[in-house]
Symmetry: C2
Subunit: 416 residues, 2 copies
Amino acid sequence: MKSDLDALMKARHLDAILVLGHAEHNPPMYYFTGGGHVSHAALIKKSGQPPVLFCNDMEREEAAKSGLEVICFSKYPYSELLKEAAGNTLLVGALRFQRMFADLGIGAGRIGIYGHYDLSSVIGVLQELRRLMPDLELVGESREDSIFMYAMESKDEAEVERIRKIGRITTAVVGRVAEYLTGCDVRSDEVLLKENGQPLTIGDVKGLINLWLAELGAENPEGTIFAIGRDAGIPHSTGNPEDLIRLGRTIVFDIFPCEQGGGYFYDFTRTWSLGYATPEAQKLYDEVRGAHAKVMENLDLNVPFKTYQRMVCEYFEALGHQTPLNTEAPVEGYVHSLGHGLGLNVHERPWSGLTAADDNLLKPGVVVTVEPGLYYPERDMGVRIEDSVWIRPDGRAEILAEYPYDFVLKMKKWNR
Amino acid sequence: MKSDLDALMKARHLDAILVLGHAEHNPPMYYFTGGGHVSHAALIKKSGQPPVLFCNDMEREEAAKSGLEVICFSKYPYSELLKEAAGNTLLVGALRFQRMFADLGIGAGRIGIYGHYDLSSVIGVLQELRRLMPDLELVGESREDSIFMYAMESKDEAEVERIRKIGRITTAVVGRVAEYLTGCDVRSDEVLLKENGQPLTIGDVKGLINLWLAELGAENPEGTIFAIGRDAGIPHSTGNPEDLIRLGRTIVFDIFPCEQGGGYFYDFTRTWSLGYATPEAQKLYDEVRGAHAKVMENLDLNVPFKTYQRMVCEYFEALGHQTPLNTEAPVEGYVHSLGHGLGLNVHERPWSGLTAADDNLLKPGVVVTVEPGLYYPERDMGVRIEDSVWIRPDGRAEILAEYPYDFVLKMKKWNR
């Protein structure tokens, strides 16, 4: 929770944090501002104090919507800084930070740096700042374990409600896609046809997904995976836009939209086979479904998330598949980890990999994905089933947006 | 052009560049990969050599679509690195970079760092890397003047064609919005009504904009400005979703979508007054239109962009408005600069601010916005007119997506 940040800063001996970048699509900044059209901004929070947001004058009113104290960059006139820096724009940035810190009474100490932003300029400016303020220690933290990853890990009910809402939009779109696909005409070679008689492509389906997400008020800044056949066997292959949709192939449909303006994400996957399934695809599906069900039945409060990764590895290995438990970076079988936390980041704490630290627990208030999968690109198939799950304060694991687990989708106008 | 990168690296004594982050919505990485679902990737380009793309195994096929040489991170087994780093995940990242550099024969030299990515982890990892490889000098460059900003500045015809195409989508959406607004019923208090008889809000209009952009195959990762009345008087106020659309107020509609998957942007603004305009708004509009026309008539090859900023400042000051020429950070009048380059970044070189370096020229192949505006928030009005313009190799300035300059939009079902 956001209220944990001060304790986290204290534990890591951070006297202040500096967050850089836009207010949208930038989780640490969004966490404070709640979004808004504030670009190239900076936020400084001293230990135990409320944050102060610095922004361009033109965006002062957007910044003020955050409810935070706002200081406009014009307080530090650019032309003066440029003169003082003799035209060195990196030094201009450093001089401005120096003045901003001075205004908040910061002259020394450990400062954590955060945000999703232009690396080059920040690295250049901070190098100048180190020269200007040698008593400042500028601290970076690992993406997996930063104070934000810890603070964001447990969600309050308002956050969960927002994730649930984007989950409902997600499954509504998935339902529309299923409805659309199963209503298509089918050519004699089992290719689906559009209304105009042309073959239906992955690109067409993705166009509809984008349209329906926009209509229901969501964005998908990271795209959508809609992969068929061999591509379905490669977990992060997004699908080739020109590929045709055919019956009887595994289709991995992984959709991870966020709120409009870059807020909370949902993450969801179903695998379908249209019209019919080959016996070997059906077997693969049943095995993944078995793993998914086993995890869902066993999720328990305050257990390390990787316990379930190990459970799934053992389950799949008993069925004869390679997994990360006994194979380094397998390329077929079970090739990834079970899931991840979900929030303002599509991937966040807690982590479930076998090497994850023991403190990645299913604490009350975490929202995690459960997404076992099996992949055989050389056999043209892959299966993944994913739900996003809230570990409720009462210990119950609640899927935030329920959706059926049908593998074979019956075609309305086609019979074998 | 991309082919300029080697000369730019040489001029800045960079032995190699390291680009980090996702392939989408990350201009320096996209410039090499052309997009794709490749996340948390790294790209190293040695001076005079083609780049090498490093990625997670799961995304190897997405990475391969770039046509670049691809190396999977599994070549550097995580479990070994974690052991060697005694669990320090920042050191794990540094050890991996060390091995990646070694594989490309890099042991020393100046390395430029680029990309839009998580600052904290990169700052932390590079700090460890400096300890591991003291002969490496890690270089940051200012956002305004990096080698990428110079390389990207001039576009080839294929790039211009892509910008033109997204421009056509942009103006098509603007046309649909105009058509929709002017077809609305109007309540006796001059508020526009939706089909269901409810008042039309800014939020409703933005929903339609998002829907139509998705339908036509564009994204708007940075949102859209649709601001009325006082908000129109604050250049980057995006508009309050609850505000009602009324006749006779200035509406600033600034729309800057990009290709699906985070490619090239377009940037476009019109200001409208529905049904009628107040005389003072009409006067303001005519003044901005005059400035826009004056610039368009005078754009000439290889002239510093800021020449036209000065021209507009002088033009507006002669009409009695404050401008940055003689007022530091004005909050009313002409409060921003004339435009900016446009490409994979919505804002890039050449810059037009009065303090911009003299080498920000209208070189052949640049695409720039021309967007004069006048803002009077206390008088509840603002006007901006913006087109994106290609400076053709033959010196002609071509608006990439033409659209009419009507200020007052006649309402179909309403007469004064």
